[in-house]
């Protein structure tokens, strides 16, 4: 299964980004092969609907699970419809998060944990 982790950089030493849809990169980790790649998040600067667009791309990439700091309601709706597992509340560096994920330390998130526009840095 491929897991997408919102990241503020393109290496395993990067920190998880607290914003699902407006993070600069996703680290895509393959739990079967143990390999990873970093992809640019083209939705990070979207005028509006970043969560919807980001979730669409994640779905199109055949991702099975996402890990992030926070997930907004629109992204949550699309990811859920695509049956992608959602794990939010992650902190720290990507490498440690992958280890924790493999050990089953994260619990699936059942509802969005921030409002729309959380990732726009306006404090709402």
């Amino acid at each position: 299964m491929k897991v997408a982790i919102s990241s503020n950089g393109d290496t395993l030493q990067s920190n998880v980004d607290q914003r699902f849809a407006r993070c600069p990169y996703y680290i895509i980790y393959d739990t079967d092969s143990g390999s990873f790649e970093a992809v640019n998040n083209e939705s990070s600067m979207a005028g509006g609907g970043a969560g919807i667009q980001a979730a669409q791309r994640i779905s199109d990439m055949g991702i099975g699970a996402v890990i992030s700091g926070n997930i907004g309601p629109n992204a949550f709706r699309v990811l859920s419809a695509a049956s992608i597992k959602i794990y939010s509340g992650a902190t720290g560096i990507i490498k440690d998060i992958i280890e924790k994920f493999k050990k089953g330390e994260y619990k699936q998130t059942s509802s969005p944990d921030v409002d729309s526009h959380f990732g726009m840095g306006r404090g709402n």
Binding site: S43, A46, G47, G48, G49, A50, I52, Q53, A55, Q56, S59, N74, R77, V78, A81, A82, S83
Partner: protein, 282 residues
């Protein structure tokens, strides 16, 4: 003549200028295009005579015809559609009603239905004709409501339009096709920064403009220096006066409580008229 009142920065005094200018002139139509939080009615207290709704067409998918191809999602410029597992998910609050999705759907599986997004109210108070729009709570698309408000403009009158703050779509929808833009600012770094952004917008739209400095005796001289450098006329200065703040907070108007302001706002109009006439003769 149509005069719009804009600002860049919010809270600089657009509504105060719009309302008091309207009360200082005759044959006026006051148009409040700040449809997200219209305020002019609080001061004018118009009798509303007419109320109508504003709708935009939003897509509705006919599931019997849709094969989940995703074309609607690709063409939506506003990220209002997602298609996952052949299922179309529509976020109608992000829809601008452009119609691309139904136009491009190869199976003609998208119908458009009207979604109410706001209302328009028209009325009058004494000799002032009044129009404003109100965007429904939770809606994000103010330009369609603003366009409907502007359809009520009566060109036989001197039209004063109160604009929303900022420099984005709602402001551009409001000020375009007006004859003059009054930019209200304050002598603070934020005031200057947002004024300079607003100046860029009015220049791009080719609309003549001038500046009113509100709370003009606070802050620094940088607005004056900027206007001199850029060749933008300063039309009026309104001092930081506790009396004005109290009048405004009570929902009253400056020209009613401090009658000397009536001629000041009258002079403001004359200056604008002169700028427009000078442009015409050039």
């Amino acid at each position: 003549m149509i005069i719009s009142i804009a600002s860049g920065k919010g809270g600089t005094g657009k509504t105060m200028v719009a309302v008091n200018l309207a009360l200082s002139l005759s044959n006026i139509q006051l148009v409040d295009c700040d449809v997200e939080e219209p305020n002019c009615h609080i001061f004018i207290k118009p009798d509303i005579e007419n109320r109508s709704t504003v709708s935009i067409p939003v897509p509705e998918v006919n599931r019997d015809k849709c094969n989940g191809c995703g074309r609607c999602q690709e063409v939506c410029a506003y990220n209002a559609i997602a298609v996952v597992k052949k299922e179309v998910i529509i976020f109608s609050e992000l829809c601008h009603g452009c119609g691309s999705c139904s136009y491009f759907c190869p199976l003609k599986a998208i119908d458009e239905k009207n979604k109410e997004i706001g209302i328009i109210e028209t009325g009058r108070k004494n000799n002032i004709r009044f129009v404003h729009g109100k965007l429904n709570v939770g809606m994000m698309m103010s330009p369609p409501v603003i366009r409907e408000v502007k359809k009520c403009i009566d060109k036989e009158k001197t039209v004063i339009i109160d604009s929303p703050p900022g420099t984005s779509c709602p402001v551009i929808t409001t000020i375009k096709d007006t004859n003059f833009v009054i930019l209200v600012t304050e002598p603070t770094p934020f005031g200057l920064n947002d004024l300079s952004l607003a100046v860029e917008v009015v220049r791009k739209l080719g609309i003549p403009s001038g500046v009113i400095i509100n709370r003009s005796d606070l802050g620094n001289e940088k607005i004056d220096q900027y206007c001199a450098r850029e060749g933008i006329p300063i039309l009026m200065r309104i001092p930081f006066d506790r009396k004005i703040a109290e009048i405004y907070s009570n929902g009253d108007t400056i020209v009613r409580s401090l009658p000397e302001y009536k001629s000041k706002f009258g002079d403001l109009y004359k200056k604008i008229e002169k700028i427009i006439n000078d442009k015409k003769t050039k």
